[in-house]
Subunit: 381 residues, 2 copies
């Protein structure tokens, strides 16, 4: 059995989630925009899921806008906000996911990048460097997809609000792993994705405080409170709702389970020489560890582990295959050679301690073989 | 059992389609962008589906870009083209779906509307009225969602190409109902949606000739040949592929089946006085009939039929609930009173002759009751 340790890239659809979706994937159908009984049934299912997603986010149902995923949510936020606020400057952290950084750079020439410290954290002083009179939106993620680092958003939100800015957080990696509280935190917008929390792919949400000026960017229908045209993906939305309910109910137990695995892995990793655990001292998601081993290439090691039927990542799935070091590690001023050796392990609720043991054994093999061939190469020189 | 006669709004997911999807909705997961075996399996599944969708469209696999649905495809086409061609004027027919008309109007102030004749058809003379030196893209749908009218695209494409324009067709309603031939027809872009042909919601395609200058509009990853960022919706894409295979294999048999039902319905409808079948003399999709009965309100009749457990539409699901008459019928210069009485019946492969009989019986009831109450009202005046 192959071992899947890449749960920050995507998670397996939960059995109970699939069960909830199947009644909407059969012979009874209907377009939620249709006024007849078939349509109304679908509409009701959407509204029930909206309640569940809102509860997970600590938001009110009417604040939830369903999208096709986290990438669309981030694009909708930035593009929709900038269409309404033509003069807006926005400030985004250097460690955001590319689905936030790229639209910021492409759609908004007026984007300023907030630097981070060596752990990838943003503090008020760093935010202050960047926020100007013209800044109207600040976006800092809740937790990083590569390192797992959790941002301390409270002082950042407070500062941004004092300066008259709106605040968005991409909680795609945080949702289902740590508690979220949209309303109480004072953020004005939040991104979540279903397939990161055992829900289906193809659905996400942008949670919006109505004070944030927004307009839709996909036209042709008045779905989702006129913020997202297009026939609603009802089975996926229903699955998202169920996954959100389960994630909320299991938040503590899942966190404890994956933290045990992660801590055991980190303890084992420390037996390897020249290993660095990125952002080790920062508060991190319980399931994530990203490390580097000097002298190794992360992509090569990933492929060597794959041949041993163990799936890990070198960073973000969305940028995999690229040869440049991760922009997250670069922003943390990790040296290129070490950044290029990065391996990310992200546990999920289906993993077991045996998976940790298999990974440690495989890493030991790979490192030993490499050292032998280095010795042999040195001997033949 | 309720009778579903609204298959142009959405169709029931096919059993074989669900079967194909389920292996991608279970415990084995992977992000198609991940380089490990879990990711590669997902990537392979996408590429296989791409072949099937291409075959249905008469296109090559590399021309297919998967999106979240027909609405996104139309938005991507217009917005992506206009970003690459800042000076472009585009010409779109007056009877397009709102997912084409709205982005044309919102995103491109430089959109010209091509008028249609009384059947809702575009001819070369009408296109010539609108196309200027500045026009660089023409968009005319393959078949209309409300009336079912099939456009004779060949002369329009020929004219557009002579004038140096690119040509797009929204084939969302045509796909699975009539043959498509992307390559041979000479169009440069085509929209298809899966849930109109017994595939899943949440997935569609924009089929693109590489000569058409395009750029992505959703940023943050290089998925779909760098034209659509975001984690691919693998189960939905796989389902789209399977639905496309089945639609192609069953094209003739489905068309014959639904045409028999439609013709029987039309024969029955002619027994009602003051009935008009819209675009009756034009070539239409085999499954669709839109009619009006003078003196009746379409939305009211829809609700009366719904109470009798029969689901029809008054026009497009995406604009339902609106009180204005359909923009399609307006463009055909149908009088408002008649347009407001419109009822659209769209058959699917699951319908039977008994459904036709139930609809005719229900309409007879509703019309009789209405006539009695009119007589009574006249008597009491």
């Amino acid at each position: 059995m192959a071992v899947y340790l890449d749960n920050n890239a995507t998670t397996a659809l939960g059995e109970k989630v699939l069960e909830a979706m199947l009644p909407y994937m059969g012979q009874v159908t209907g377009n939620p925009s249709s006024v007849h009984r078939f349509g109304r049934l679908q509409k009701d299912a959407i509204e029930q899921a909206r309640e569940s997603v809102a509860r997970l986010a600590g938001a009110r149902a009417e604040q939830v806008v369903f999208t096709s995923g986290g990438t669309e949510s981030n694009n909708l936020l930035l593009n929709g906000f900038s269409r309404k606020n033509k003069e807006a400057r926005i400030a985004v952290s250097a460690v955001e996911h590319m689905s936030l950084l790229e639209p910021a750079q492409h759609l908004l020439p007026a984007a300023d990048i907030i630097p981070v410290d060596a752990n990838g954290c943003v503090n008020v002083a760093q935010l202050e460097q960047v926020v100007s009179e013209q800044t109207s939106l600040v976006s800092v993620m809740s937790a990083n997809n590569e390192t797992g680092v959790i941002q301390d958003l409270t002082p950042l939100i407070e500062f941004a609000v004092q300066r008259g800015c709106f605040f968005h957080t991409d909680a795609s990696q945080a949702a289902g792993k740590i508690a979220l509280n949209f309303v109480d935190s004072g953020v004005h917008a939040m991104t979540i994705s279903a397939h990161k929390l055992y829900g289906p792919v193809g659905v996400g949400a942008l949670i919006l405080d109505k004070r944030l000026p927004m307009t839709k960017i996909q036209f042709g229908g008045s779905q989702e409170k006129n913020l997202r045209a297009g026939t609603e993906n009802v089975p996926a939305i229903v699955g998202f709702g169920r996954a959100a309910e389960l994630a909320l109910a299991e938040l503590q137990s899942t966190a404890t389970h994956v933290r045990d695995l992660r801590d055991a892995l980190e303890a084992g990793l420390k037996n390897f020489s020249s290993i660095s655990i990125f952002a080790e001292r920062a508060e991190r998601l319980p399931n994530t560890v990203q490390f580097g081993i000097e002298g190794f290439d992360g992509e090569t090691m990933l492929m060597q582990l794959d041949r041993k039927a163990i799936a890990v990542s070198s960073g973000s799935a969305c940028t995999s295959g690229k040869t440049e070091p991760s922009h997250v590690l670069k922003a943390m001023k990790v040296a290129d050679a070490l950044a290029n050796s990065a391996i990310r392990v992200s546990f999920g609720k289906n993993n077991t301690m045996s998976d940790v043991e298999k990974l440690l054994a495989a890493l030991t093999d790979i490192i030993e073989i490499n050292q032998q061939s280095s010795v042999m190469m040195a001997a033949t020189v």
